[in-house]
Every structure is written in C-alpha cells, then in structure tokens.
Symmetry: C2
DNA sequence: ATGTGTTAATTAACTTCGTCAAGAATTTAA
DNA sequence: TTAAATTCTTGACGAAGTTAATTAACACAT
C-alpha cells in the first residue's frame, strides 16, 4: 500500500489525470483536440480542466492564431511551468547530483555534492543540505513540496524503501521516510533507470509512444521498458537487464556468473580491460584509449567496435522480443558515442527482424543532470497520477 | 475499428468482465471471495453476476462444504461449461485441425483435414466443411455461435484480415468475413502463437500470472508475451521473435538475414541439417536422429544439446529483459524434449540474472489439437471482453 | 455594419457504474 | 432458543461521463 498521499493537486478522476498528462506532454492543445485524442467528450474535458485552471496548474492561451477557416477560435490549454517546483536528486556511490525543475521537468538550477561516507545518516544529512542549498538558490522555497530521489539498485517506490543497493551497501533502508522527516518535502523514491524512463516518457523522446525503451551504457548496462503505457517491473523485481543478455557463448565471463553478457563486453570496465590487453599497456586509461581511438589507432578502434557490436546485438534482442516504437540509448558511456554509433546501428540493422527494424534508435549522450532530472520527473508524476507504475 | 459485435453475452461493464473472467479461470468462487480478489464491493459482484446466472453462463453451487466456523455458507459461483460451444481451427500449410470446445476451452471433439490447395476459396470451403463435420459430431449445432481461427503469420484480429501469411502465400485476405459468410458463425482471427498464449492465460499455466510468456519450438521458434495482463503486440506488429534473438556471433546464418539466431540453431530444420553434417549421412531423417540420440549416440546427443543450449540462451534473454513469472515452452519440437530439457534448464540457470532465475520454466510437449484449442480460446474470449488485446 | 455559417466551449439533464449502509438469510455455538 | 458469525441482497446515493442544446467568438459575404 502507498505510504502517503501528496494530495494538493486536483486529480480527482481518471479523466482528470488523462487530460492533464496530455496537456503536460503535448504542449498547448485546445479542449476539442484533447477530446478527440483521448476519446472523452468535450464536456468532460471542460469539467476536468477547470480545477487545474483554478489551482493555477493550467492556463488558457487566449492567444493569437486559430488556424485558417471560420469558427470560434480555440483557447488552447497550456501548462504553467512555474506554478510549482520540484527537487530531484540522484545518489551515486561517489556523489549527489541535485536539480530544481519546474512542472515541465526543465532544469532551473543544479548542484553537485561529493559524498564521503555511505552511512545512512550521513547520506540523509547530505541530501537535506543539498536540498536547502537548491531551494535557497532561487525563489523556490514556497512553491516546492516534492522531492524525487533516484539511485541504482532494487528500490520499492510504493513503500519508499531501498531494498538493496550494491553501491551504497544498503539493505532495507526506509529512505523516503527519513528524507521526508529531514526535508519536510513529500518524497518519492525510484530506481535510477526507471526514473530516467519516466522523464523520457513524459518529457522526452517517449512522448506519444505507447511502447519504448531506455538503455543506459556506462559502468553498467541497463534498461527500462514501457509497454502499453506501463513500466515493466518483472514478477520478481528484475526486468530490463539488457546488460546480462547473453550474446556470445565464447565471450568473457561476467560478474553475474554468466558468459558473454553484453555488460561483460561493453561496460566501461570491460572496454578498459580489453584495451589494456590488446595494447599490452596495463596502465592505459579510458581517456587515453578514447583519444588514441579517435586518432585512428586500429587496435583501439576495434575494441570500441566490439563493444558497439555487443550493444547492437543486445538492442536487437530487446527489439525482436518487444517491438518498441523507439529506443533511447544513453548514459555516461555514450559520451564517446562517435566511436560506437556506426557499429551499433550496423549490427542492429543486421539482426533486427522484419518490421522491428523500423524501430527508431535515438543515440544521445546524457549530461549528468539528466539522472537528477529523472528523479524530479518521478516527483512530478507522483503529484499527478493515482498510484500506477 | 472492430468489425462486428458478437453480442449476446451479458458483458455490460468492466466489472462484469472482471467477475466472469475470475469465475472462469479460478474455478468456483464465492461472491465475497470475488469481491476480495478484485477489489470490488460485494454488492457490485452480486449485481454483475446476476445477468450471467440468468443467461445460464454461471450457476450457484448450493453445494456442501462451507469451511469451518459459523456463518451463512457460501454459494460459490461456477461456470456452466456446456452452456455454449466454440469451434477452433488451426490452419497450417498442410492441413486443418479443428476442435469443438466448451466454455472452459476443454476439447469435446476434434478432426483433421488435409489441405491440398492454398487458394483462398478452397481453404474457406474446406474450413466450412470441417466446421459442419464438427458441429454434426455431437449436439453442438444450436449452442455454437463463435468460430476462432489461428494461423501463423501477420494477422490483424481487429479487422479480421490476414495481412501476410508466408505458409499460405496470402496477403490482405479478409478471412474472418469470408468465413463468417461461409459458416454463419461469428469469426475471430488471431495469430497462432498469440492464440496459444490466450489459451494459456485463461485456461492454462498462465492463470493468475500477471506476466508470462509462451515459447513454441518446432519448424520455427516463436513466442508471445503477456505483461500486466496484456498481450505485447509490438509497435510495428513484430514482437516475441525469440527465434531471431542473436546468441552466437560465430553461429550459422539465419534465413532472416541475421547470424546465430536461436532459430538457425534449434529449429527442426536446423537440427536435421546439423545432424546430417555431423554424421556425414545426408539422408538421415529426424526420426532416425531422435532414435539414435536416445540410444546414446554421442554425436547426435551433442546436436540436440546444442539446440537446447540455444533455446536456454534465448529464454535467458527473454527472462532477463521481461522478468515474467512463468514461461511455458511448448510446440512440436518438444515431443523430443527428453533430449532438450536438461540442457535448456542448465543454460537458463547459468544465464538468468539474479531473482529472474526464480521464473518458473514449464516444459511441455504440445498435442496438435492445442493449436486449435488456442483458436477456440480466442473465440471464447471474444465473447467476454470488450475489445482489448 | 450586419447577418450567416462555422467551430469552440459551456451548461444542463440524464445514464451508468459502483459504493455504502442496512438488513435478510442461513449456518454454528452456547 | 438465542447469540454470533458470515454471506448475500437491496435500495439510496454519489461520482464520472455522455448527449443535446446553448452560448461565445470569430470569418466572410453581401
């Protein structure tokens, strides 16, 4: 059962949620258009929209152009982004990244904070301090009530618990509650990749797609899937583990116990290992490897191509099984995506089956704040939905 | 938009559908229990159930045992399987398999029919004849109004069209309409693997699982996935192509254009090819290969083990990405599953990630009629749902 | 400028679905 | 026989959305 009800937002019915979500994601839209797209009657749209307008979340744009032809001009509904602000924080093993966003999840302000200690109390205090710093950076205090927190690992959003976090070494920590006490903000916890996916679904490349996937490449390789508008969670809590899809029986052993997993070939660590082995330079750093590969070093280019190939195969597996409309590939590892992109696309095109090939592959390096923005997006959504995944 | 409304069944509201589905799948249940499990009020259950009872689809079991303790004894609701019958037909390239089932999708009667010609008219006539034969085999005529048809390929259930069937060489055939005219029965068309999955979801091992998968092994290797209670269809019509998940970059070329696909290693055709190559006997048949493998021939056992390994890797990919509660592996290829099973399970266990390993693997050879039963199950469902996938 | 047609939004009456609370039915236990 | 427990039914009520009619705001032609 849910831990708490954030409350204030005028979500009273499914229709209200639908209407608001549509305006939030599809920019300004007239009521008639909303009715058409959602299948509701236009009367229902009028009713659903009113409380949002009265509460200041939506406005009518009594604006200019109506389009050609006769008839009463529409007054499209638009979101008022500065009606409320949200704090999003991503916790990694090394530091905290925090942002303040508006209702559209646009970042207004961001800070980093290095994390010395993994003790729960210490992290909670550090987050609280970061929140204070963020809120004081602008005129955000009075209009901010929600905090979103993202971290990698096994997280239960419903109960606000961190069930298991390998990076922090935590088990069964009721983090949401602790942070609520420490900050006074209604707090929502979510797995980091899922949070990123929510951000993408509502405010990014997932808008309008009923099914899509987000894949992150970096120290680990993970993904989250949206099918029929809902996040796939896995019956046993595990899903989207594209990093552990086996693609090469003769490949290297993976830390998960398997063989030839995508992650064992294309994670940052695996790439460095291979680069060192191929060149015979045990001290080689990632920066050097990237630099020399860009300079044309054939051995190192081959290393990156191998990684790109592995990712492409993993994507093909995902797409052949799911048939998503779009896939966004992102993460720290994509900062060097000039070294990957061609190979990923080539391999994917060769292995995707039939019409699944039409799935759009968006490759995009991810600024660090995106993770924190994902956390904020989860907070935004928590205000405007009624408990769904 | 839907082509037609089957109608007669008293599905008036979402609650009605929910209640009926629960009774259908979870055997006799008392109203209170239904209310508890669905989250409806017990008053709503009473109201929803009444029309079904009046129409003869459900009965009250004023039966014996109530369980211990005081209180008014429950009168559990049960389905009346013989209230209505359904015809299910599976069309392959070579023949038709037809069954009559009751409301529970239990097979009452079945026939085969060899298909000489792939001409549309000829197939329609053959199906109509088979339907007549099936209905005349028992007292089914007056109580049968729905026909379900399953075939492999790209099928649009909504419009009742066969968009593309490689086996039959059809494109854009409005088969449902043609069959409706020829048989007088309300006809539902569905892809064969999806149909099998529906049968499993409502009447088999998928009952009660919110997410699960069905994998079929045979001439081809396919699968269908159910997530959050809904079938995954793929944005471009392709999904569940586990047969074309790449698992071995050094493996054989696949007819799809890819390399090392599961199907290129573990389909019936691929197994025979390998068996012939390994033994150096170009005339070797599947029967002989199976016989000698069972007898202990190490080379042939190895061939089957390789196939089992490929299937296990494909399953691991599927499970790591989806995290289903259960997977049912089935199909003609599984008739020899004594040769596969161990290897499938071993490989799967080695490659499944974390808790995903807890996913239950059900290996089960599939009698031929199961395909036709799937078709019938789709027909049953078409009567009792309101247009969902 | 002024009616006329056209599209957008609102309003009002009604339908439908389901909840709630009270009570009827039917058993066990004292 | 009465009390307690439990299931099922009933009817009043309320929430959410629909349809149909009305009002609003414009473009355009005369």
């Amino acid at each position: 059962m849910p831990r708490r009800t954030p409350g204030r937002a005028p979500i009273t019915s499914p229709a209200a949620a639908t209407v608001f979500e549509l305006v939030m994601t599809q920019g300004p839209v007239s009521r008639v258009e909303i009715a058409r797209r959602t299948g509701l009657s236009s009367a229902a749209v009028t009713k659903a929209a009113r409380p949002f307008i009265e509460a200041g979340y939506l406005t009518e744009m009594t604006s200019g152009r109506t389009g050609p032809g006769a008839g009463r001009p529409a007054s499209p509904l638009a979101i008022r982004p500065d009606r409320e602000y949200f704090v999003g924080i991503k916790i990694t093993g090394d530091d905290l990244i925090g942002v303040v966003t508006d209702l559209r999840a646009d970042v207004r302000c961001s800070y980093h904070h290095t994390l010395g200690d993994h003790e729960v109390d210490h992290v909670v205090a550090a987050v609280a301090e970061l929140v204070t710093r963020l809120l004081d950076a602008g005129d955000y205090r009075g209009r901010t009530h929600c905090l979103g927190v993202a971290l990698s690992g096994d997280v239960d959003r419903e109960s606000g618990q961190v069930r298991y976090s390998p990076f922090l070494g935590w088990r069964g920590v009721p983090l949401a509650e602790l942070l609520e006490d420490a900050t006074g903000l209604t707090t929502t916890l979510e797995n980091d990749v899922k949070a990123l996916t929510v951000a993408e679904q509502w405010f990014g490349d997932g808008v309008g797609a009923s099914s899509f996937a987000v894949v992150t490449v970096g120290a680990g390789i993970g993904s989250a899937l949206v099918v029929n508008g809902g996040l796939v969670s896995g019956a046993y809590g595990v899903a989207g583990e594209i990093g552990h899809v086996p693609i090469s029986p003769a490949g290297p052993a993976c830390h998960c116990g398997g063989t030839g997993c995508v992650e064992a070939i294309a994670s940052t660590g695996a790439i460095i290992d291979r680069a060192r082995a191929t060149t015979g330079e045990p001290e080689l750093t990632m920066e050097q490897a990237v630099h020399r590969a860009r300079g044309g070093d054939p051995k190192l280019r081959e290393v990156f191509a191998t990684a790109g190939n592995a990712i492409g195969l993993g994507l093909a597996a995902l797409v052949n099984l799911f048939g998503p409309e779009r896939v966004v590939v992102s993460g720290e590892g994509l900062e060097t995506f000039d070294l990957f992109e061609e190979q990923i696309r080539t391999t994917f095109a060769a292995q995707a089956f039939g019409s699944a090939r039409r799935c759009v592959l968006v490759l995009r390096p991810q600024p660090f704040e995106q993770w924190a923005r994902g956390a904020a997006a989860v907070a935004v959504r928590s205000l405007f939905t009624t408990g769904q995944p």
